[in-house]
């Protein structure tokens, strides 16, 4: 209320009835933010912006797209050829999905490195994992809509995963398809849900923001703010920093859209769907490859057949993130002060990169072997290394406050990330 007093009578009148201006000033202008956030903290706002870009381009595309097995492929080409600016909309949307996942994966790994999931931000983190799951479902259904060969066969392979569920699996698959094969009812419902899910994501993003603003951002040192000297208002400091980051991001995004729009795509998806002809290699989009690798490299485990075990581990590999706040026993958040965790974090990054590569290869020979080792290590990291390390590792001494980190013993190790801010 106090801040709104600076404004004119009309805004004061509105604000006393619907405190929108006060709310914005409180959450954006006054919102205290750690002064030491580095550029890895840009990716949260970038993800939010990408969500808006995807919704806007998606709504415009939906005005021209036709969700029918005989017309879908040609309606996408109609957008590419005959709709004014249609090719730009479609390439922005198609590559936007890839950029969205790049941003979100960096955001997620930043959380893993700096321990952003720890007390008191567990629910903030869990909501983030929910957003990731919703994004994956949305992206998968969106990829089906152009009704090319990869759309059709990707949809067939992924929906068939549910047949691994004992007893009721096949009934579930028929229910998902709305028939006995991926066909018109499947395409129609995927289109409907592809339109719905982004708005569910918006809802969970709002909860994510409420949870964020309750305790504020974590920071590269991973220590709590001790007082006003450790904080700066979000606006103008982080609005301008986020805008600069957005500019850099848009240059990369534009380079992809305008000069390599099919870089992440599969040529097979420019062939109309043909239920009678299976492509030699069915590969999902790059952002699913690590999980696809886990699915395909899982062998029979005890009495569980390989297919079911693979499905369990694939979903488990994401769901395990939800319990990470309780698996990690270390009280120290930032890897800056955890010399062993810091190295194992990068080893985990390498492990996920190896899974990404394995997912793109036929599951045989060395690719299968590496896939199995990397899958095992993925779970060993979360279930054994992270819980044990919290107990065994001796963290470096923490700085007493954000304002004076370099004066402390841990300063040398933490210096690089903490000082990244200074140009």
């Amino acid at each position: 209320m106090q801040t709104a007093r600076r404004h004119n009578a009309l805004i004061r009148w509105i604000d006393s009835r619907l405190p929108f201006v006060s709310f914005m000033e409180h959450e954006l202008h006054e919102y205290p933010t750690p002064k030491n956030l580095n550029y890895w903290w840009n990716f949260g706002s970038l993800a939010g912006i990408m969500l808006v870009v995807m919704i806007v381009t998606g709504i415009l595309l939906s005005m021209h797209y036709v969700a029918h097995v005989d017309l879908a492929f040609n309606s996408v080409e109609h957008i590419m050829r005959d709709v004014n600016g249609g090719w730009m909309l479609r390439y922005l949307h198609m590559n936007g999905a890839s950029m969205f996942f790049i941003v979100v994966y960096i955001h997620l790994f930043r959380g893993l490195y700096y321990g952003s999931y720890k007390n008191p931000r567990e629910l903030l983190w869990i909501l983030g994992v929910v957003i990731l799951l919703l994004m994956m479902a949305t992206a998968f259904m969106g990829y089906v809509l152009p009704w090319g060969q990869m759309s059709f066969w990707g949809a067939t392979v992924i929906t068939n995963l549910f047949s691994a569920i004992p007893l009721i699996g096949n009934d579930i698959v028929t229910w998902l398809w709305g028939g006995f094969a991926v066909d018109q009812p499947t395409l129609n419902r995927f289109y409907s849900l592809h339109y719905l899910f982004p708005f569910l994501i918006v809802g969970v993003v709002l909860l994510h923001l409420v949870a964020l603003h309750t305790h504020g951002s974590n920071n590269p040192l991973g220590i709590d703010r001790k007082g006003p000297q450790d904080s700066i208002p979000f606006h103008p400091y982080y609005t301008v920093k986020d805008l600069f980051g957005l500019g850099v991001f848009l240059i990369v995004y534009a380079a992809l859209v305008f000069y390599a729009p099919n870089f992440f795509g599969e040529p097979d998806n420019y062939i109309p769907a043909n239920p009678l002809q299976t492509p030699p290699h069915i590969v999902p989009e790059w952002y699913f490859l690590p999980f696809y690798a886990i699915l395909r490299s899982t062998p029979d485990i005890l009495f569980i057949p390989a297919k079911l075990a693979g499905v369990i581990l694939m979903f488990g590999s994401i769901l395990i993130l939800m319990v990470l706040p309780w698996l990690d026993t270390s009280k120290v958040r930032s890897a800056t002060f955890r010399p062993i965790y810091k190295q194992l974090f990068w080893l985990f990054v390498v492990d996920v990169a190896a899974l990404e590569w394995c997912g793109s290869q036929p599951p045989e020979g060395s690719a299968l072997l590496i896939g199995r080792v990397a899958t095992a290590y993925y779970f060993i990291h979360f279930l054994i290394i992270v819980p044990l390390l919290g107990k065994l590792e001796r963290p470096l001494p923490l700085p007493t406050s954000i304002g004076t980190p370099v004066l402390q013993g841990g300063g040398a190790a933490g210096g690089s990330s903490a000082r990244m801010e200074k140009p």
């Binding site: 050829r81 500019g247 848009l250 305008f258 590496i370």
Partner: protein, 253 residues
């Protein structure tokens, strides 16, 4: 830790050798310097027009291009009257008329390219069981793109000793499995180019692939031009944002 790193190095070495083995199985494509490559690429109009002539006189006997309309040809430098004349050479079915009957009429620029076969069954019946794919998106729908299509057109020849080619199939160096149902489509001097260009096989292949690349990505020129403008703008704008950021943060550092 050190042991883990050693394992990783061993793994990456074994990946590398596996990739090398796989690479030996595929043949390197013939690479062409295409006019539409690069940041400033545009379609060579002369090559694309000659390529359209190759498509019209040779490919279109079996291959449809159902996503293209005759009106699109103006983008290759044909005048509106020329496009009208090109379209008028084809018959399309229209109707029903006031008597409720379908009738044939000459195609107009607003019609899509005439198809060589009424449907897939007819196409297979006329081609020894094989289905000639629609060429509208062919350079986008194959790994290797324009170079792949160019290589296929130049890749015919006698099978090496020891390789038997099935009945009705043809040997092609660049086709997966080396056996392709399509007989060699282009021969030297198969077309007489209107502009007097010598019609060697590589020339015909180069020109028709330029045409097919335009057909697959008619937006390419606009895309690259707008992209350049957008990226130049973004670089300047981001530079300014960086200056503002430095100024705003000056007091904090």
């Amino acid at each position: 830790m050190r042991r883990l790193y050693a394992c990783l190095i061993a793994l990456s070495v074994s990946c590398g050798s596996a990739a090398a083995v796989r690479a030996e199985e595929s043949v390197d494509l013939l690479k062409q310097p295409w006019s539409f490559d690069g940041l400033f690429g545009t379609f060579d109009r002369g090559a694309a027009q000659r390529g359209f002539q190759v498509y019209k006189e040779v490919c279109s006997n079996c291959h449809a291009m159902s996503l293209l309309y005759y009106r699109n040809l103006t983008a290759l430098g044909f005048s509106a009257d020329e496009v009208k004349a090109i379209a008028a050479d084809y018959k399309v079915q229209d109707g029903p008329n006031d008597q409720g009957e379908m009738f044939d009429r000459p195609a107009r620029p607003s019609d899509s390219f005439a198809k060589p076969f009424a449907n897939e069954k007819a196409a297979r019946a006329g081609n020894n069981g094989a289905y000639p794919p629609d060429l509208s998106l062919i350079t986008k729908a194959r790994k290797g793109g324009a170079d792949y299509v160019y290589s296929i057109l130049n890749g015919y020849g006698d099978a090496p000793p020891g390789v038997t080619v099935a009945d009705g199939m043809n040997y092609n160096k660049y086709f997966a499995g080396h056996q392709i149902a399509m007989p060699q489509p282009l021969q030297p001097n198969q077309v007489t180019f209107a502009d007097g260009t010598a019609a060697s096989l590589p020339q015909e292949a180069h020109d028709v692939v330029t045409f097919l690349s335009w057909a697959a990505e008619p937006e390419l020129e606009a895309r690259k031009r707008i992209g350049l403008e957008a990226i130049l703008f973004l670089i300047v704008f981001t530079g300014m944002l960086y200056a503002v950021k430095r100024k705003v943060w000056a007091a904090v550092h």
